[in-house]
Symmetry: C2
Amino acid sequence: QMPRGNLETVNHRALLLAQLRKWLDSLKFREAFECMRKLRINLNLIYDHNPKVFLENIETFITQMNSIDHINLFLTELKEEDTTCSMYPRPEGSPIQLQPVSGQKKVDVVCDALRSTMETMDPNKFCLSILTAHVKKTEPELEVALQKVHELRENPREAPGAVSAEEALKFLLFLVNVNDLYEHSLGTYDFDLVLMVAEKSQKDPKEYLPFLNMLKSLEPNYQRFTIDKHLKRYRKALLHLSKCGPEHFPEALRLVREQKLYSEALRLFAANDAQYKALSCAYAEHLVEQQQAEQAGLLLWRCGEFVGALQAFAGSSSWRNAICVAQQIPLPPDQLALLARDLAEKLTEQRRYSEAALLLDQYAKDCEEAILALITGAVWEEALRLIYMHDRQDITETNLKPALFDAVSSHTVFLEAQVATFARHRARLAVVREQKEKARLDMLDEDGPDCPDAELYSEASSVMTGSKYSHSNSRISSRSSKNRRKAERKKLSLKEGSPMEERALMYALGEIVTTVDKMREEVHNLLKALVLFQLDRQAEKLQQTFEEALQTTEAALPEVWPDGIQNNNAPLTGPNSTANSITASFQQQQQKPAASQQDVEVMAPPRMRSGVKWKLTILK
Amino acid sequence: QMPRGNLETVNHRALLLAQLRKWLDSLKFREAFECMRKLRINLNLIYDHNPKVFLENIETFITQMNSIDHINLFLTELKEEDTTCSMYPRPEGSPIQLQPVSGQKKVDVVCDALRSTMETMDPNKFCLSILTAHVKKTEPELEVALQKVHELRENPREAPGAVSAEEALKFLLFLVNVNDLYEHSLGTYDFDLVLMVAEKSQKDPKEYLPFLNMLKSLEPNYQRFTIDKHLKRYRKALLHLSKCGPEHFPEALRLVREQKLYSEALRLFAANDAQYKALSCAYAEHLVEQQQAEQAGLLLWRCGEFVGALQAFAGSSSWRNAICVAQQIPLPPDQLALLARDLAEKLTEQRRYSEAALLLDQYAKDCEEAILALITGAVWEEALRLIYMHDRQDITETNLKPALFDAVSSHTVFLEAQVATFARHRARLAVVREQKEKARLDMLDEDGPDCPDAELYSEASSVMTGSKYSHSNSRISSRSSKNRRKAERKKLSLKEGSPMEERALMYALGEIVTTVDKMREEVHNLLKALVLFQLDRQAEKLQQTFEEALQTTEAALPEVWPDGIQNNNAPLTGPNSTANSITASFQQQQQKPAASQQDVEVMAPPRMRSGVKWKLTILK
């Protein structure tokens, strides 16, 4: 017995914890437990103090407790929290206890460890604690617990101290809500168990007996299906229903549609079943509604539903598959040509000119349209290939050359406009940054050095730099990231003086850099076509304009995105800064929530693909 | 007159400069000039003190100088350097003088401004100063100066104080090296001028007269060509030679080859000339040597050299052009098929399977080979398209399906290996960083706080963080950037304890992220093919493996590339840091040379293309 009054008067928590640690280190669980219970120390500490030692000495623990009630008390008090981190921090300098990294949760680890030890030691004696261990897991194992109760009823234990099924059930009802227990008993499909629980609960037999009797009258698989459905365990329900024979298939199909259990359902039937095909069609319908027509097409095609598959593929511009299915049907040549034209039209709308041309050439047999599509899409070499393949050099003069002239002039105009906008934004950015820097230095100056709460300034300056806005953004993170990004961009107003103007300018500049950089291939191909048709002068002009655009943008990168990313977090050093102000400016940087993805996208310098060689050496 | 002795004894530079500034501000150029000359103050200050005011008052300046010698002295002392930044810094608080931003050099601006003013005021009186202004430009305008001398000789000035051609030439010879002047006089093609200079120089007439006489005997264009060639002005030489008629073309071609003046030469001849064709062939030969066979092909094709063009295109895998030229020749069908096979083989080596298949299918008329190429290249949908187009479903069973099985298993193995390597590198990176942090804190601790030269530590720590290596890199910046990058990577040894290990690990981790991210499209296409052939189980496994790989790598990004870029420049704050040490660590950051491009590439987190949807919803 502890010298009770004594400890209570001193009541020095540090002393108390030191004593507890000593007991736990020497495996005196009993003493520790008694003391903790009396002084209301959280029992989790028994485990948290040294998880490894505890798990290695569970039998000792159980033997020392020597009481179902105490073990149950310990089990029910278990929480995920590590008390040595929260309530009872370790004294400084003590070795850090590594958590056994198993990926499992602490509560589950302790419950499972205690239960299995008790089961080895004496399953009868520890029966109620074993039930507690099942019930207290983060995902309560109610059905296992119920099963054990049921076993007790079937085979009552003779051993001294053994618990009866009655007692065990009562105990469970004390731990768990009665309705939960009833539902879970149903889930075992064991009517004896259900009745047992129902009787113990204060449920009205008039309520549950008719239902149970109805269930009993059903064919076993259908019975299980009905129970599963009642318990909203739809996957299990579907599994059982699928075993009930084809006459129940319509019901299964309904269930699949209602609960969107399409992939699960497909796995339950053989691929050559009629039912498999029906499910595939239902799934395909659903997928089309979900804008997944291509996947719908694949499902339909593989189960032989060619017409449906063709529709689905055509609807999703999955033109290769559409054409394959059409040829498998097989569609007569004129209809195939029509299909090819339809598909080509859609692809043209999506600016997929090469693919459109292939369809027009090979399936609609219309090489002229194909060549024109390629010319529209600026796919010069491929256009030439078809021109020579079909011996249609006339199109070179009538369409290809004029298109080259158009392309070179529109590219030049476009590039010049981009460069002009770039210069404007860049100049404005310099002004905005200078103003911001000035505003911040003014703030620091006002109160002069040795100002003890410099944190205030850094916070104030963070408002200026827009981090307040990014905070408010985090509130709407539940929206889809696409929407969020859109919202983000809306905030990025280029209007002079807008709070996010700097960021808006950087974003706009980045867009220009990316746009210009993306044109390398296009310009390269255009230059080659121009040279081929002896349009060297135009080619030279374009090459120069593009070169200048690339150089202008590339040269500005270090200025617009200075040294890494956080341009507006330049440290507050300077003649008037103090250790405090410097440190504060750092803490601000460090406390800032990790930059979100779209922040990084705006703030990181765009990468230019200087590896993509586009220039022609034959042009000066 | 200045109270000379007085100033010399006091000789207080600040006082002197203050006085000079006062004079210059009140446009007393004469006083300023005299004083500066006597006390050896750099005359550039007259302009540098306030460029705008000087340029607006040039006439006043010239009038006050009132001496050719003084003006010449000022002109000859002009240097690009801004003396108010170097020798005579402005007093603090004085308004900063904005340099007139014209893109022109200061020396040229001043020379041109003085010259044009003098030409308006009195070209005769200021003749020698005008010549000085021509000669002192950063690109001396010797020919213009010579031309002016020649004019004086033709039309001697009657005005009082006017200079004779003799005097002017003497003056020029005093300013410029005689040989330079002689060469430049030749460049005017004006033999009178040449003789005038030659006579004034101490050159031996036996030396130059035969040469001049020979030149005089030549046809004018050929004469100019000979002079240009003598002066190594090859472009001009070519221009004049091109006007000498076809009998001189071989000589022109030789010149073009020797001096690589191909593009210039092409511009001098009409596109339908025989000479244009010859030049094109020569240029093409050169381009092929320079690994620019495709451009060579374009030049040959457009001037009708089809066979040469075909070779050039075939050599550069420019297969579309090659085929077009072949059909223009036209090659007989069997040879065309052979060409297509050759091209396809090369493309296959370059993993350009789709293009190889097109050649095999459409030009070699071998659909089986085409389909096999597509299967090898994992271009599943296109393979299927050809299978259906040519009604060769047998290949589906014999080749396509086995290839799908291979692909899914090799992808899975590959992804698992990447993930394993990633985990290993990531764990090691954590260790390396911890060690580095510990080493740095230890260093700070050793001397404790209040250590006045904390800069030493930050420098020492910069050695640890590898910036010493990046310094040594800057020395080899003359190498091509590709070589530099290679060298950089070689330094990045993954060996444990290597000085750049952290960087090497980050680089390796980045490579894995990029590799995995790049597989999105490939995996997506493979998944669709697997589903089509009812290989759902394999597809699900692959989808899971890939999903895990993406998640593992994406989740590690913030840890591997923490908050922006400069992970190893975390500020030195902590219980033992001082204002000095914090500031020092900053200065280190700021003084670091701007991160070079390849640094950024290693240090910036790779971007994952989360916008590329690859997952199939029909797979769980």
